[in-house]
């Protein structure tokens, strides 16, 4: 099997699996005051400190969640609600149109049901938000903006945003800045303190950690209304019994991924470049999407003109190569990528893309496997694409 879908989920690191398994044998609700609870709490708090240290955050700034989607929902809804209730005039949300659905749909929902006004920041042909564009959106009436949310790195096309510059501009105008860093942590250097961002989402299973855990890093001074109400375990901003085994695993995974990041970025970007070059040797028409320079090391997102992405995926799947076409609806229908549409692709092009995403387990053999099959697969998918054409 050739697994090239690390942006969807990564294989769990062996030492993470060991840490999770060990913790699962321990009894105790971290919120209980007795000995078992205190011990569980201690392990959770140690994990919080380790995670915070790895990302240069204060432990108090770490709000554990059940994953990246929850962290994004909490940041966007929570900051919007808190800021708007403090000043009803503050109802604008500035967001990039290439956000993950966890942010995109949350912003849309706030606009449709909670009186928000969604202002979509322009992006260029590689999906980057220009700092000047953010300034232009803020300058006229910064007092009306509840928050800015721009992802650190794009999950589909791999483009890395100038987050530090964008966050600095937002701060100039006194507006909180959230970034979805689910794809960035472990892949790029992420320093929460230096980034100038006010809220940062991350997810465990994208960096070798367990599923069902993540965190929102949230600066102390940023008000955030809870989405989940209950025991108030996480700073009264997030409720729910702390998932000690997952959180212990999350901290190990973040620590390992961050420690390995400089070396793995070099290794993966070289591997990724060979993958892209290998594909383009065999399929010269293939187009690399996203920013060629400011790019996730493991991301190769390619458009294959004339092919349907789902046909290519089927053929590669049959050959044991696992990659992605992007988003699918609940039923499993492949949708045209909103990211590609946002960077100017037409509907057909937006359905003709494949994403290969490399991660810690990727090897030279994976690249070779893709190069071996891609030529014939594209030929076949192109015929299928012709069959998909307008009725005739």
């Amino acid at each position: 099997m050739t697994y090239l879908d690390h942006a969807a989920t990564t294989p769990i690191l062996p030492e993470v699996a060991a840490a999770v398994t060990a913790e699962q044998r321990h009894l105790g609700n971290p919120s209980s005051p007795h000995a078992a609870g205190r011990q569980a709490r201690r392990r959770v708090e140690e994990s919080r400190e380790r995670l915070a240290a790895a990302l240069r955050a204060d432990p108090f700034e770490v709000i554990f969640t059940a994953g990246g989607t929850e962290a994004d929902n909490l940041a966007v809804k929570g900051i919007y609600w808190a800021r708007r209730s403090a000043d009803p005039h503050r109802n604008r949300i500035l967001a990039s149109p290439v956000e993950h659905h966890a942010v995109l749909d949350t912003v849309r929902w706030l606009a449709d049901h909670q009186g928000a006004r969604a202002d979509w920041l322009p992006v260029d042909a590689v999906g980057r938000v220009a700092p000047d564009a953010l300034r232009a959106a803020l300058v006229a009436d910064p007092g009306s903006v509840a928050l800015v949310t721009v992802m650190w790195a794009n999950n589909e096309i791999g483009t890395v945003q100038p987050v530090t510059e964008l966050a600095a501009i937002a701060r100039e105008y006194g507006v909180p800045f959230h970034t979805d860093a689910v794809q960035a942590v472990g892949a790029l250097p992420v320093d929460f303190a230096a980034s100038g961002t006010d809220a940062l989402s991350l997810s465990g299973h994208k960096l070798g950690g367990p599923l069902g855990c993540g965190a929102l890093l949230l600066r102390r001074e940023v008000a955030c209304t809870p989405v989940l109400h209950g025991g108030g375990q996480e700073r009264d901003i997030r409720s729910g019994t702390l998932n000690a085994p997952a959180l212990v695993g999350l901290a190990v995974a973040v620590e390992r991924a961050v420690a390995a990041q400089p070396a793995s970025a070099v290794r993966l970007s070289a591997l990724r470049d060979r993958l892209v070059a290998g594909v383009r040797t065999r399929v010269p028409e293939a187009v690399l999407n996203g920013d060629p320079v400011h790019r996730l090391p493991g991301n190769a997102h390619l458009t294959f003109p004339g092919c349907a992405g789902d046909a290519l995926l089927l053929l590669l799947d049959a050959a044991g190569i696992e990659c992605s076409t992007g988003a699918a609806c609940a039923t499993g229908v492949v949708r045209p990528s909103h990211v590609l549409l946002a960077v100017g692709a037409d509907d057909r092009t937006a359905r003709s893309a494949l994403r290969f995403s490399l991660g810690w387990s990727s090897t030279e053999a994976d690249v070779a496997a893709v190069c071996e099959i891609i030529g014939p697969a594209v030929q076949r998918a192109r015929k299928a694409g012709a069959a998909d054409g307008p009725p005739g």
């Binding site: 609940a330 499993g332 299928a384």
Partner: protein, 354 residues
């Protein structure tokens, strides 16, 4: 794989036959409730709901085959739904399942499958196919050869119907034996793209209300009104909303639909009986008609209206003289020609004569 029991068992039999099988579920609806819609489908019955997609996926899992959802919503809308609406608007009564087989399952899906390197489309239709000869199912009550008779030889050459020799009861029993969760799932009867089964409301939504008269065939009198001639089919008795009973007290039926004058003509049942059927755009399963003139059995609706007939093949069509008069023959339906249980071909009913 629709998510129903037939396609699940058909897939299982294809797997058992040693074939390299991939399960495909078709997303056919573009509406907000359908799988192809942005909302991803909610609480809709008929086919291609997330629930059906899930049932199909679980059947594929049980069989250990890959499973994909193919989005054919645009093609389906253009070739089946628009055609359905246009046919009703023209006063005819279309059969969308037949059109779907002709244009989607054994055209769009088949073309794509062939391009991807597959050899055939396998479906759970109840019909027998061997050596290019299409025959009725072993289960007369479930026979679906009528809606497959529109397939050309080159389509049949890449089709497989593994259920043809089985009754529906046998298929269900086999599904249960194989542990397929869909074994007891009810049959679907509705038109899959009309969620609530209300065809007239669906058509009114697409065509708008167009009030017109209902006229008595014998007296020429206006006996009632309607909201659109598209809401009727020849032979229909219920839902005419005629206030006064006929003078002779006998029930009245729709005899004719005139979309141009927007008039529905009604009359007694005996005026419905036809002895001649003209079909156009014939398709011959063997590639050509068996002879210029031949005797056979014709079927004029998906269920029923069967009669022996003498058929004459002309340029671009067929004329069938029915040995037994039939009531409720509607333009737009198919006339399917059988020799015993063998399908010879089909044509689209264009007109009738008495």
């Amino acid at each position: 794989m629709s998510g129903g029991v037939d396609s699940a068992v058909a897939a299982a039999r294809a797997v058992d036959a040693g074939l390299d099988v991939v399960g495909v579920h078709l997303a056919l609806s573009t509406g907000p409730g359908g799988a192809g819609g942005a909302a991803g489908g909610r609480g809709r019955h008929g086919c291609c709901t997330p629930e059906d997609a899930r049932d199909a996926r679980r059947a594929a899992d049980a069989l250990g085959i890959p499973f994909y959802v193919w989005d054919l919503a645009e093609r389906f809308a253009a070739e089946v739904v628009d055609d359905f609406v246009a046919e009703y608007a023209a006063g005819r009564t279309p059969n969308p399942c037949l059109r779907c087989n002709e244009r989607i399952k054994f055209a769009a899906v088949l073309d794509r499958a062939l391009a991807l390197g597959f050899d055939a489309v396998v479906t759970g239709h109840h019909a027998r196919l061997a050596g290019g000869v299409l025959r009725r199912s072993a289960d007369p009550a479930k026979d679906q050869s009528y809606v497959l008779a529109v397939l050309r030889p080159e389509q049949l050459a890449h089709a497989m119907f593994p259920l043809g020799d089985s009754t529906k009861a046998e298929v269900r029993a086999e599904a249960a034996r194989r542990g397929l969760a869909v074994a007891t799932k009810p049959d679907s009867h509705d038109i899959c793209f009309i969620a609530d089964g209300d065809t007239r409301a669906f058509l009114a939504g697409r065509l708008g209300e167009r009030p017109g008269d209902i006229v008595d065939a014998e007296t020429g009198e206006v006996v009632g009104g309607h909201d659109g001639s598209f809401g009727f089919t020849v032979g229909q008795r219920r839902g005419l909303r005629i206030g006064r009973p006929a003078a002779d007290g006998r029930p009245r039926y729709v005899l004719d639909i005139a979309p141009v004058g927007n008039t529905i003509t009604v009359g007694p049942g005996e005026l419905l009986a036809v002895t001649e059927v003209v079909g156009v755009r014939p398709v011959w399963t063997a590639g050509a008609p068996p002879a210029e003139r031949f005797d056979c059995v014709v079927q004029l609706r998906a269920h029923g209206l069967v009669s022996p007939a003498a058929v004459e093949v002309g340029v671009g069509g067929v004329v069938a003289r029915l040995r037994e008069p039939q009531r409720g023959v509607a333009a737009g339906q198919a006339i399917v020609l059988y020799a015993g249980d063998v399908v010879l071909g089909s044509a689209t009913i264009e007109g009738t004569g008495r």
